[in-house]
């Protein structure tokens, strides 16, 4: 076992390498590109006996991934943001083929306006595709989750592709100490893919995409995908227990921090949750019984575990690094439906923050806690809060001032040009 500094992208590549993947269809996009660059370098150096093919788009890349997976080989691919959305049609399609593989998504906020930094609207757009979803908070978790995702996706009761999500910049380009497990340890946990009935072969035609009419067969196939996804809850427990036996690291479907006697809790996804862990510890020091619940598994949604861990909690601050226009935080809506009708359910407060890489400061976590305690006392949740400070508005006003000055400048010079 080696412990070394790795970026999230490096950790994802190590996950694929240790999973001994056979085929890597690829297309570059910031902040994901380093993953395929690293795999390409290993393949080139003869250290990874896999085949990499660069495709002309993410749409083709996902098609290639699904088609290769349908032959029963182990497939790895990666994308981000606009790339994931460009592949959206094929995400639904290949999930319907019931051929397992792993897709790493490096979360990056969606255009327009264009940015490179992270939020979760990209991966949550893939929420209903039929892909399983694992969300990571640390670089270690990225490596481990790729391995877990293969076991889960290939589980005979599941057989669906899986997305492993990591945040752009805050994980993708950030180095942290990561333990790289020995290949022999990984092989025991994750042996070669036993494709069983997944075996599309030349000269043995199989149609993966049958046309069905009338609604009944369609409903059957889609309902069965839903049932298979539900199976992944129990399968994850089994896989996580095996992983802990192999490596000593426990990754629950629902990560909790100091929830035993918590009065209020934060619920959030991804790497900013480590900041919430810090905030919880500071709040505890000041006498506030705070805790954190972080779904690692987002599809399937660990509803029972959420109800259990939030039982007895009086207020929950849901922090969404995404925004559904005209509705609000996606995680908030998911959690509200999970807790609806549960006796003595906690009051939910909603905070939208961390869009496009915006920081969430410690004092903001503290203020969320204080708003949530007050909501728990009164039983009234305030309007969802879009995290934005007076200083940030001044910054935007300054930029708008520049845009306005330019509008005058360009209009003026345009007039000059047309004068003579």
């Amino acid at each position: 076992m080696t412990r070394r500094l790795l970026t999230g992208n490096g950790a994802a590549a190590w996950g694929a390498r240790l999973a001994d993947v056979d085929y890597v269809p690829a297309f570059p996009i910031t902040p994901q590109t380093e993953i395929i660059e690293q795999l390409g370098a290993w393949i080139d150096a003869g250290e990874l006996p896999a085949r990499m093919v660069t495709l002309e788009s993410e749409h083709s890349m996902l098609t290639a991934a699904g088609a290769a997976a349908a032959t029963g080989v182990r497939v790895f691919t990666a994308t981000s943001s606009q790339g994931l959305l460009y592949a959206m049609e094929m995400l639904y399609t290949v999930a319907g083929w019931r051929a397992p593989f792993v897709l790493v998504n490096v979360s990056r906020a969606l255009a327009a306006p264009v940015t490179l930094e992270t939020d979760h609207n990209d991966v949550l757009a893939a929420r209903d595709t039929g892909f399983l979803q694992l969300h990571c908070a640390t670089c270690q978790e990225v490596l481990d989750s790729v391995l877990l995702a293969y076991r889960l996706a290939e589980h005979p009761r599941v057989r669906l592709p899986a997305i492993v999500n990591l945040d752009g910049f805050t994980l993708s380009f950030t180095r942290e100490p990561v333990e790289i497990p020995e290949p022999a340890v990984v092989r025991r946990f994750l042996p070669g893919f036993d494709p069983q009935s997944v075996r599309f072969r030349a000269s043995e035609p199989v149609s993966q995409a049958v046309a069905v009419l009338g609604g009944t067969p369609y409903s059957y196939f889609r309902y069965e995908m839903h049932r298979a996804t539900e199976q992944a809850i129990a399968a994850f427990e089994e896989v996580a227990a095996d992983f802990e036996r192999a490596t000593g690291r426990r990754h629950a479907a629902l990560e909790t921090h100091r929830m035993n006697d918590a009065e209020i809790a934060f619920v959030m996804l991804g790497s900013f949750a480590t900041k919430a862990v810090d905030a919880v510890d500071r709040l505890r020091e000041s006498g506030v019984r705070a805790g954190l619940v972080r779904p690692r598994l987002v599809r399937p949604w660990p509803a029972a575990a959420l109800r259990e861990s939030l039982a007895g909690v009086r207020g929950v601050a849901v922090v969404d690094q995404n925004l559904s226009m005209g509705k609000g935080g996606i995680l908030h809506a998911e959690l509200a439906s999970t807790l609806y009708g549960v006796p003595d359910a906690p009051v939910l407060t909603s905070f939208i923050g961390g869009l496009g890489g915006r920081n969430i400061a410690p004092e903001e976590f503290f203020q969320m806690a204080s708003v949530t305690r007050e909501a728990a006392q009164t039983g009234q949740a305030p309007e969802p809060r879009l995290l934005f400070t007076a200083q940030e508005l001044r910054e935007v006003r300054r930029l708008q001032g520049i845009a306005l000055a330019e509008r005058h400048e360009t209009t003026h010079s345009g007039a000059e040009r047309s004068a003579p």
């Binding site: 180095r175 500071r282 007076a390 520049i402």
Partner: protein, 308 residues
């Protein structure tokens, strides 16, 4: 926790500096997190990189609002509004190290700073005019925090520059060693930065963002290609200079290939570079058929301008 922020421009090696320092801390037994942050993905664009080091696992992420040490590789970032907040969050106990030919006292007065200001003398020859100062800045930072040994620093440089040719590695080791020595009398002056204020001590200062009509709130700018008001000329580390004697006046070539529309012809057809917006990408140098455009280090060009 030690919190260190490196500021520079794309190409100056600030990401490498953060990785060298991160690896050196790691070799000394610290938990480490190092990360670059860059938006424009372009040579010359402002970037910063952070290093956090502590004895417990690091939970902080993202921007570093309260650094203990800030290192600025390029002094032209200081007056720049979009420079990425070079001085943001610098408290009285913080240390600012500037890679600059101007002395520390002058900077302290110019910037009106309460914190300690140090300089690392700027010498063009040591960077070969190319502006890579990653190892230099990492070497200085390693000495300023005081708990990174020379062996750990050198080991980190060998590790991070492993892909470089032997002579490049040797030059970087020398530079870093000199910077490490130059900071000897300030060794250990960087303290572990204080933790963020306790719950309730600071207000989040949230506002209710009002509705604003699309005329104002749509993300439009009204400049051609690059924003006029943003003087991206400050991004340059190398300056393209046109030799009018050799120029054949085919301005449609350099002028139309300039990604920032910063080259336009004067009446006689001689292309003129708008240095307020030229980012120094040097596409024009590469495409000029008469090789009439040369590139010179920006600092040298400015010196020549100052002494006509």
């Amino acid at each position: 926790m030690y919190r260190i922020r490196f500021h520079g421009r794309g190409g100056q090696g600030m990401k490498t500096a953060s990785r060298i320092l991160g690896s050196a801390f790691f070799a000394e037994g610290f938990e480490v997190q190092d990360a670059p942050s860059y938006g424009a993905e372009r040579r010359g664009a402002p970037i910063f990189a952070t290093v956090r080091a502590a004895h417990a696992p690091i939970l902080e992420r993202g921007p570093m609002p309260q650094p203990g040490l800030v290192i600025v590789a390029d002094e032209t970032l200081l007056p720049m509004a979009a420079g990425g907040g070079v001085l943001s969050g610098m408290g009285e106990r913080a240390v600012l190290l500037l890679h600059s030919a101007v002395d520390a006292n002058t900077w302290k007065q110019r910037l009106q700073l309460a914190c300690r200001v140090l300089t690392l003398p700027l010498r063009l020859e040591e960077t070969g005019g190319r502006g890579f100062v990653g190892a230099l800045c990492a070497g200085a930072a390693a000495r300023l925090v005081g708990i990174v040994s020379r062996e750990a620093l050198e080991g980190a440089i060998r590790q991070e520059l492993a892909a470089m040719p032997a002579q490049v590695l040797a030059a970087n080791l020398t530079q870093a060693g000199e910077a490490y020595d130059a900071m000897k009398k300030h060794a250990g002056c960087v303290c572990e930065a204080p933790e963020a204020p306790a719950p309730g001590a600071v207000d989040a200062n949230w506002i209710d963002l009002p509705f604003e009509a699309a005329e104002l709130s749509a993300p439009d700018i009204h400049g051609a290609l690059t924003s006029i008001q943003v003087r991206t000329g400050l991004w340059r580390t190398l300056r393209p200079v046109i030799d009018p004697e050799r120029c054949s006046r085919c301005h449609w070539l350099c002028g139309s290939l300039c990604p920032d529309a910063a080259i336009s012809p004067e009446a006689e057809g001689l292309p003129v570079i708008d240095y307020e917006h030229c980012k120094g990408c040097l596409v024009c140098v590469a495409v000029c058929p008469r090789h009439a455009i040369e590139s010179i280090p920006e600092a040298q060009a400015r010196e020549q301008e100052a002494s006509p």
